[in-house]
């Protein structure tokens, strides 16, 4: 029988990271859960105390919450969906050999490495209805007859912020999928060629099944990140006009900065549960496929 020696080094090495994660993620998260059951409004400190499910009941009655929930679903579906489509196309292009590929790969990362606050401010000026470059281009191309105040009207504000988040997220998908594509064995394509497969057949029968797990993980990460994203919308519209760009995370942020921490905590718990509803089946299905 082989006697196993207890080695404490691995535990010691991960301890600092674990401590940091516990203190900056789990402690505040537990605190948020506790606060969600309290009347915790710093504007009225004398009324602070246990409130049971009052915050959750109020959320159910809150029309702004329902509106923000619908906006969040649209924000994630269109935002992540188009990021995936365009990111995949970009990854396929960058996987081909061509002159200057390294340069194009570097440049295509710019939206991803640009801070969200800067992206928000930049696109706010691009969309500006008086001095924005987008209106200028569209006018010169003759596509519009008059300037469109993209961020000032409800009908265009939300699509505008969605386009911005798509632009920001494409490089991340491209980068991750490109890494996946580079791991696909060339033999599979050679075999497909011998079998007479065309480009689409190779894409759907070789490429996509080979990078399925990368697609799963990347999409899941983006769903969570995009659902939690505040910086872009906050800097472009603040959630307006008329709450038309207020997603749940922006609503939570606005409520928290209004100092109603109990209510904003309750909303954040609900958002977390909603994300878990997506994330758990998603990951379980991914691991099940791996086992198969």
């Amino acid at each position: 029988m082989v006697r196993r020696k207890t080695n404490i080094w691995p535990y010691l090495l991960i301890a600092p990271a674990l401590l940091v994660i516990l203190s900056v993620v789990f402690v505040p998260a537990v605190n948020a859960i506790l606060m969600s059951f309290q009347n915790y409004d710093l504007r009225r400190p004398s009324q602070t105390g246990f409130a049971g499910l009052a915050n959750y009941i109020e959320i159910i009655k809150d029309p702004l919450f329902g509106e923000a929930l619908v906006k969040t679903i649209l924000w994630v579906v269109f935002g992540v969906g188009f990021q995936f489509v365009f990111g995949f196309i970009l990854a396929l292009l960058l996987n081909k050999k061509f002159k200057g590929r390294g340069f194009v790969r570097s440049v295509s990362l710019i939206p991803w490495v640009t801070p969200g606050v800067l992206i928000g401010l930049m696109w706010r000026w691009i969309y500006d209805g008086s001095y924005g470059v987008l209106d200028d281009i569209l006018l010169k191309l003759g596509l519009i007859g008059d300037k469109i105040p993209f961020l000032a009207q409800e009908s265009t504000a939300f699509p505008s912020v969605v386009v911005t988040i798509i632009w920001q997220g494409i490089p991340f998908f491209a980068l991750m999928l490109l890494a996946g594509l580079q791991g696909v064995p060339r033999e599979l394509y050679e075999a497909a060629d011998i079998d007479g497969a065309n480009a689409f057949q190779k894409l759907f029968n070789v490429t996509i099944p080979s990078i399925k797990n990368t697609i799963f993980v990347t999409t899941l990460l983006r769903i969570i990140w995009v659902a939690n994203s505040v910086d872009v919308i906050f800097n472009m519209t603040g959630g307006g006009p008329a709450y038309s760009t207020q997603t749940l995370s922006v609503y939570i942020f606005n409520t928290a900065t209004s100092l109603n921490l109990g209510y904003s905590s309750a909303m954040s718990i609900i958002l977390t549960l909603l994300l878990l509803l997506v994330a758990v089946p998603y990951l379980r299905s991914m691991f099940r496929n791996q086992e198969a």
Partner: protein, 425 residues
Amino acid sequence: MKKILSIVLAAATAVSVMAGCSKGETGSQAGSGTGTGAAATSLTYWYWADNSSYSAKMQEIVKDFNANNKSKVKVTAQEYPWDGGAYSQNLFTAAMGGGGPDIATFKLTSTPQFTANKLLANLDSYISKWSEKDDIDKSLYDIMKQASGTNSIYVMPWNTQVLYVYYRPSMFKAAGVSVPKTYDEFLTACKKLTRDTNGDGKTDVYGFSMRGSKGGQEPWGSFIQARGGDFTNFASPEAIAGMQDFINLYKNHYAPPTAPSDGFNETVANFKSGKAAMVIHHIGSAADMVKTLGNDVDAFVFPAGKKQWTSLGDTENVVFDKCQNKDAAFEFVAYMATGKGQETWCTATGNVPVSKRVQKLPAFQNNKFMKVSIAGQPHAGIFPVRDTTTDWINTVWPNTVAAALSGKTTAAGAMQTLQKGLYGK
């Protein structure tokens, strides 16, 4: 095992949503709080400045105070952006977290949340012993008391800004419009000044540069009061009529189509670029307007309808309760209120001084914008200071007015929402 792993992984990633909401993680910008310990010899002061020139002036003022104060303290001035009012929230977050400054530039609307959490020093005993207390009008002290909801003063007056209407004389001349003397004339002027100047069928100049974003409640308040409304009952027929006027200006295209999202920068840019003939702001913009437009800018007090009202912008200083050298801190806020700090700052920014002595100086008596400010002062007032006011200004007002401007809600519906947002009923 993999199932458990998947759940743990999902939970770990998703739980970060909650983490950001907790009190302990609210992105405090805590200052050094150097004024701790008995008879602290250094104090931190937070302020905001509208441009780099004002910023340099503040540093100069603090340098002068540090060289000459009786308490032998050193004040370190730290600048934070106003950021549409986020300054006040950042200050509050820092103070609640035990950080923040010893002294800070302040807005009255924030008073209830700071006093409710016992963050500010009571200045009553300092002011009662202060030899220059009568240099500030008693009414201002009363406003400070009213804002705190107590009979005590927690906020030291510093300077005020009275909102008025900037206009382009050349555009008035071209449109055949004279300076409005009544509210109805003002509305007519908005219509007449909206023009297609090059005959291409599109509007090139709008009558009024409307502010629909944060801070827009101040000019908007003049419309409500001009129809006879007030801020205790937004749902009154008079207040609704004022709101309808505001909506009509936008719907009839007398204001730029970007108005619902236009804040300070956009409204002033519209005016300076010639896209709008009138804009409402205070004297803080005067130097910049003159620099851009030369003599082609003048001002008038928002005219009277059934009532006359304009917004009194206020900026004060506060001493925090945690400050360990309140005597020195009071010496600083007194220097800013009636001393050389008052004179230097108000001269540089053009803000209306609270010191009667400084108001009489030639620099303030010979300035046309200062004259309009002083003429507007009798009609100037503030919005009700409640614990809901900050949220009402930052979220409720801009979103509700945007909905009204787009036709999503009526004037009456919007005013009921505004009433509920501020008063809870």
